[in-house]
Amino acid sequence: MMTGNTNSKIAFAHLTSRLRQTLVATMSVTFGISMYIFMNGFMNGVNNIQADLSFSTMAHIRVYNDLPEDRTNLLKQHTNPDQVINIRNAKVIQYTDGIKNSEKILDRLKKQPEITGVTPQVNINVFYRNGAIKINGVLSGIEVDSEDRLFKTSTFVQQGSWNDLSYRTDGTIIGAGLAKKMSLKLNDNLVVSTADGVTKSFRIIGIFKTTIAGVDNTKAYIKINSARQLLSENSSFVTDVQVNIRDYSKAREVADKLASSIPYKVEAWQVANGQMEATTELRNILAMAVSMTILIVAGFGIYNIMNMTVNEKIREIAILKAMGFEGNDIVQIFLLQSLVIGIIGGTAGIVFGFLISTAVNHIPFQVATLQTLPMTFYLKDYTLSFIFGMLTTFIAGYLPAKKASTIDPVIIIRG
């Protein structure tokens, strides 16, 4: 108890007698921690934006009725060697398009705990016509609310309003590229014709722009029931069920699990987009590499400064030992200093890191759907960096103090 007080008094004297050096050590901790917080926030922000952009038109999991299996080699099934078989011009004569009884499947999907959103769609390949112009595209019949919940489609609508679609059965919201190609404006009419020859005219009540040209140039939204009408299907018919889950990187596992209970094709986004999976993985690896690099660089910075602080006091350590202070006392004295530097530097680092992140988050960056530079503020990054800062400071204080505490005082005194 008595020694504890004495030790903390010595530690405090060391800290205050060389304020400048204490300040430099504290600042190195602050710098390391705030850089870690900022870089991680920025990396995660960029990653999230990229994921958001990718998933603005694509769900994590898609449920649909796949074409029947490959039956080009029908002879394979034939086993009786006494018969002669001749097959010419084989064709599928019975094939159900789309999902007929969608309610059951939707119910089942909505009950899954890892699923955060489900929306049914009726997607139809159509020709858009306006006078002589004919463009091939996809007409997407959607549920206005759940579609927006999954894809935030309303944020892409530039003219008109997404919600208007819910009470306009003859309304359509079309891609900006499509509108331009067909010289159409708001309140003009868009004529669509299906593969089966049905033609219908829709009123353009909105124009959207996702900045993904492939979508903007070919897509138009209508209400899901209007789409069913076009195909003369009943009110439980859908072509696709789009599903979002909590963690998009787990889509494959969730899809595999769902596949056993759903009689249709359940496809994770990675299966349909191999190249996107690769870029996502690479981004994650890059983020980890950057984060590790900062940890190591910051760690060495902190270590060096702390080491210097201890080494400058090494003669005093020898004197204390000569007077009878034990190894534990010496270690205690320097760990106390580390602790103070770590806590002050760490707290300042968290505040400073937050300030830098907030400032960068306000820098304008008007590309695609972005307004400012992206940034995340995860509690995890803040806690982790603080723990890391404390740990490094601790080790940096402990190692040289431990070393000094085990050698003969005379070695230090003699120099």
């Binding site: 108890m1 004297a13 004197i319 000569a322 007077m323 009878g324 034990e326 190894g327 003969d408 005379v410």
Partner: protein
């Protein structure tokens, strides 16, 4: 072994290895009685300071055996030696080696606070008495780095005395002091040996200081020359 032996060394040998192997102390054996005032003399490089550090347990890199108060100290761990020094040895360095951030009295109190046998108030009182004894009553609360060299040296002596150690060792303890203060310190040392039975071992260059001590040991080239 006799009961009144404070310190004894047997066959002490010590080598320096850098830049080349060199024997600093050669086969040294002697005893110091309790209450004895012993001075070590010799030319510079004769090994007297080196020997003092070995005797003080601050240097463990030697061959031979060291006993203090009949406790064998050779082979003990750093922590055991630190605890032993704290309770039984007071050391005065050639240079004062005070903690510059602390006041004179705080410096003096440190070893006693570490020992933890007395209350802080008692320790403070003792420290103040020690400082007064060395003529530093007025400097007690000044920061150590504000004192003159001689004053700092006397603070260091006061610090060495605080735990009433059975042995006080000094590496030229009066080297930085003027003749008046040297005489004062000498008188204090003399008194400690006579009245309290404390043992003093001091390395010195001061002929007069050595002559007035109880016994003088002279070292030359690491060997014991005379022990009168």
């Amino acid at each position: 072994m006799e009961n009144n032996i404070a310190l004894s060394v047997n066959n002490l040998n010590k080598y320096f290895y850098d830049p080349e192997t060199f024997q600093v102390l050669k086969n040294i054996s002697f005893d110091v009685k309790k209450g004895e005032f012993l001075t070590l003399i010799g030319k510079s490089g004769s090994g007297k300071s080196t020997m003092l550090y070995v005797l003080s347990t601050m240097d463990t890199d030697y061959e031979g055996e060291l006993f203090i108060n009949r406790t064998k100290l050779t082979g003990k761990t750093q922590n055991e030696l630190a605890a032993f020094r704290n309770a039984y040895i007071g050391f005065v360095f050639q240079f004062h080696y005070l903690l510059p951030e602390f006041s004179a009295i705080d410096n003096v109190m440190l070893p006693a606070l570490k020992l933890g046998l007395k209350s802080k108030e008692e320790i403070k009182e003792n420290a103040f008495q020690n400082l007064s004894l060395l003529g530093l009553k007025d400097q007690a609360y000044k920061s150590a780095n504000k004192l003159s060299g001689g004053q700092q040296q006397r603070v260091a002596i006061a610090r060495a005395l605080i735990n009433n150690p059975s042995i006080i060792m000094g590496d030229e303890p009066t080297g930085n002091l003027d003749s008046k203060n040297t005489r004062n310190v000498f008188e204090i040392f003399k008194e400690l040996t006579k009245e309290r039975g404390q043992t003093i071992i001091a390395v010195t260059h001061d002929e007069e200081f050595a002559q007035n001590s109880d016994r003088t040991i002279e070292l030359a080239d690491g060997e014991l020359l005379r022990s009168e």
